[in-house]
């Protein structure tokens, strides 16, 4: 079944408290090479049938109006994830 992937990230200018907590915790496990972490969300929208341009457009609208809050988040990707895509 084809899926549409929507990725949402906190806006760059908004402090991401969760990402900050993660980056501070990483060195405790020996991961010392990462100077920053930002945590976002990934949504997988399943479609029964083919993903038409119209359906993709609906996904973009849903991403902008419901899956993200434009005050604090950016939609960074809305893309088709075909079967066999190992993403």
């Amino acid at each position: 079944m084809p899926r549409i992937i929507v990725e949402v990230m906190p806006k760059p200018e908004i402090l991401d408290p969760q990402g900050k907590a993660i980056v501070n915790a990483l060195p405790h496990l020996g991961f010392t090479e990462f100077s920053g972490v930002r945590q976002g969300k990934r949504f997988e929208l399943t479609v029964d049938g083919e993903v038409t341009e119209e359906i993709l457009q609906q996904a973009r609208k849903a991403a902008a109006e419901m899956l993200s809050n434009p005050v604090i988040e950016d939609v960074v990707a809305v893309r088709v994830d075909d079967e066999g895509d190992a993403a």
Binding site: P10, E13, P17, Q18, M66, L67, N69, V71, I72
Partner: protein
């Protein structure tokens, strides 16, 4: 106050006869709402008549004002308040709060904590809430300055009055872009500001704001938990005697009942 104090948990019976009881204040319950009973009791103690409203019911049953209480509507899934915004009852509240499709005056709406988050998701108030900057859940008594006593919910406070009410949340950090913050400040729409230290990283120490018309107010701390001596914050008269939160309810109830300030 001459109103007889009702028993805890009892808010269904009619209050003592009073002209204020004519003010009917709706309290909305969503799945996951926690503080609806406390809010209804605060309305009772303020002299008004609480009316239980249900998220799936579009009708406001003729209420004169609405409280969106605190809690974790829909488990805070997606974002705090994000799913509640799409509840049928919210369609009506958004319309009446903006006085659209009606000739009546704009409906006074108070959003407390999760209710404030719902109001921002519904675009009745600008900005949004993100996790507290220290990532911890806070539960404590919080001092606030009332910076706007011209709203429907704050008319009985004095100018710059300092009050204390409980604060309890995890996603309480108010954020908005610089242009929005400047507009809120310029137009005097910051209603409550944290004093004695910023508890959660909120921009400009903002604890509560109002819309342009002053009928919609949202705040993160909980006035409905400071309405009854014995159960509120400590104050100068004794332990847990603080009832500063009651003034939000009496403000709207008095004006709805046609009383003068």
């Amino acid at each position: 106050m001459s109103v007889e104090t009702p028993l805890i948990g009892d808010f269904t019976a009619a209050p003592a006869q009073s002209r204020l009881a004519g003010a009917r204040i709706g309290v909305v319950t969503f799945p996951g709402t926690l503080d609806d009973r406390d809010a209804a009791r605060a309305v009772r103690l303020g002299g008004g008549t609480p009316v239980a409203l249900w998220h799936a019911d579009q009708s406001l049953h003729g209420v004169d004002a609405v409280v969106l209480p605190g809690g974790f509507s829909y488990g805070d899934y997606l974002r705090a308040g994000a799913i509640a915004r799409f509840a049928p009852v919210m369609d009506t509240i958004v319309k009446e709060a903006q006085a659209k499709d009606t000739s009546a005056a704009a409906l006074p709406v108070l959003g407390i904590c999760n209710g404030f988050q719902i109001l921002t998701e519904a675009h009745l108030l600008p900005g949004s809430m993100i996790k507290n900057n220290h990532l911890k859940f806070i539960c404590r008594d919080q001092a606030l300055r009332v910076e706007n006593n011209q709203t429907a919910w704050t008319s009985q406070f004095t100018d710059d009055e300092i009050i204390a009410i409980p604060l309890k949340n995890q996603d309480g950090q108010y954020v908005a872009d610089d242009a929005t913050l400047a507009q809120l400040e310029d137009e005097g729409r910051v209603v409550f500001r944290y004093v004695g230290g910023n508890p959660n990283g909120s921009r400009n120490d903002i604890a509560g704001i109002t819309n342009e018309a002053g009928n919609v107010v949202g705040l993160m701390p909980h006035p409905e938990h400071a309405v009854e001596a014995g159960y509120g914050p400590d104050d100068t008269t004794g332990m847990r005697n603080g009832t500063d939160g009651l003034t939000l309810f009496t403000s709207v109830i008095s004006s709805l009942a046609g009383a003068t300030k």
